[in-house]
């Protein structure tokens, strides 16, 4: 396989595998935060803020994979 083909293949793999981890993480965070809101409905504001912060952490790791994927597409020759 040529260089360009390998680069495109690994670009697809990079973002695909990163998305698996991100989807699992965000799903777990969402489930746990909704569960804790049902336990204490008056803490909705605090829990919502914390949920967004945790989602941003997980999402940023997925975006590192996306950056690598885009870098591979545009710098393969």
């Amino acid at each position: 396989m040529g260089n360009v083909a390998l680069a495109y293949l690994s670009s697809g793999l990079a973002i695909g595998l990163a998305a698996i981890g991100a989807a699992l993480g965000i799903g777990l965070i969402g489930a746990k935060s909704i569960e804790s809101v049902t336990r204490q409905p008056e803490q909705l504001g605090t829990i919502r803020t914390l949920m967004f912060i945790c989602i941003a952490f997980v999402e940023s790791i997925c975006l590192y994979g996306l950056l690598i994927a885009i870098l591979l597409i545009f710098t393969a020759k």
């Binding site: 803020t49 967004f52 975006l63 590192y64 950056l67 885009i70 710098t75």
Partner: protein, 235 residues
């Protein structure tokens, strides 16, 4: 042909013997800073602007500074202006013919490095030489220290890098997704089939507006967290 080509300089400035090329994000950054300053001066006179500023101050105090040691008005002004600056820089990407300066790694890395050096200097000023002790956790045998200290240092140095990369990747990837969807839109041959990519584009654009605000909040929240970590008693 790539995405990381250098942009054309709009004009050059000679400053202290250096020739600086002023590109579009730099010009936009200056205009945004001027806009924020003008907005705060307007808030002294116009009641609506003052209400918005008071809401922003209350928001910053609740979210970023609720558990901040040595809380002074300086930190409120610092985090309020950081939040407004990053949020406005993210949002101008949505205006046609303009680009968001935070889609540039130089911009986000400068902000993150500034926050990082501020936290290091504050930590050294408050704790003196004991600042280096935070890399050695409690109760570690003396032989393990050369093994654990580099890991702790790398973890500590990764935090500003992740701050810069998170903001850059979010803004850049959001813009790239819109470009890809427009390419998809241009490839649909049937006219009535163009409805689906258009709905996708509008949906993604609204989501990106939301992400702009969230990422500005996350940047400022994590900056406040790192600076207050440097202020508190180290392990």
């Amino acid at each position: 042909m790539g995405i990381h080509e250098a942009q054309e300089a709009l004009f050059t400035v000679h400053f202290l013997g250096m020739t600086l090329a002023i590109i579009k994000p730099v010009l936009l950054m200056w205009f945004i800073s001027a806009f924020i300053i003008v907005f705060f001066f307007l808030a002294l006179k116009i009641k609506r602007a003052r209400t918005i500023v008071e809401m922003l101050i209350a928001f910053c105090q609740d979210q970023f500074l609720s558990s901040f040691p040595h809380y002074t008005r300086f930190w409120l002004v610092f985090f309020l202006s950081l939040f407004l600056f990053v949020a406005t820089n993210n949002l101008v990407g949505s205006i046609p013919l303009l680009e968001s300066p935070s889609g540039n790694l130089n911009f986000t890395a400068s902000l993150a490095l500034g926050v990082f050096f501020l936290s290091v200097l504050i930590g050294i000023k408050i704790h003196g030489r004991k600042y280096l002790k935070q890399f050695v956790p409690n109760g570690v045998p003396k032989l393990l220290i050369p093994l654990m200290a580099p890991i702790e240092i790398v973890t500590y140095l990764f935090r500003p890098l992740s701050l810069a990369l998170r903001l850059f990747a979010n803004m850049f990837a959001g813009h790239m997704i819109i470009v890809v969807f427009f390419t998809l839109l241009s490839m649909v041959p049937i006219f009535v089939g163009k409805f689906v990519p258009l709905v996708l584009i509008v949906g993604i654009k609204l989501f990106e507006l939301f992400v702009c605000l969230i990422q500005a909040f996350i940047f400022t929240y994590l900056s406040a967290s790192y600076i207050s970590d440097a202020m508190k008693i180290e392990h």
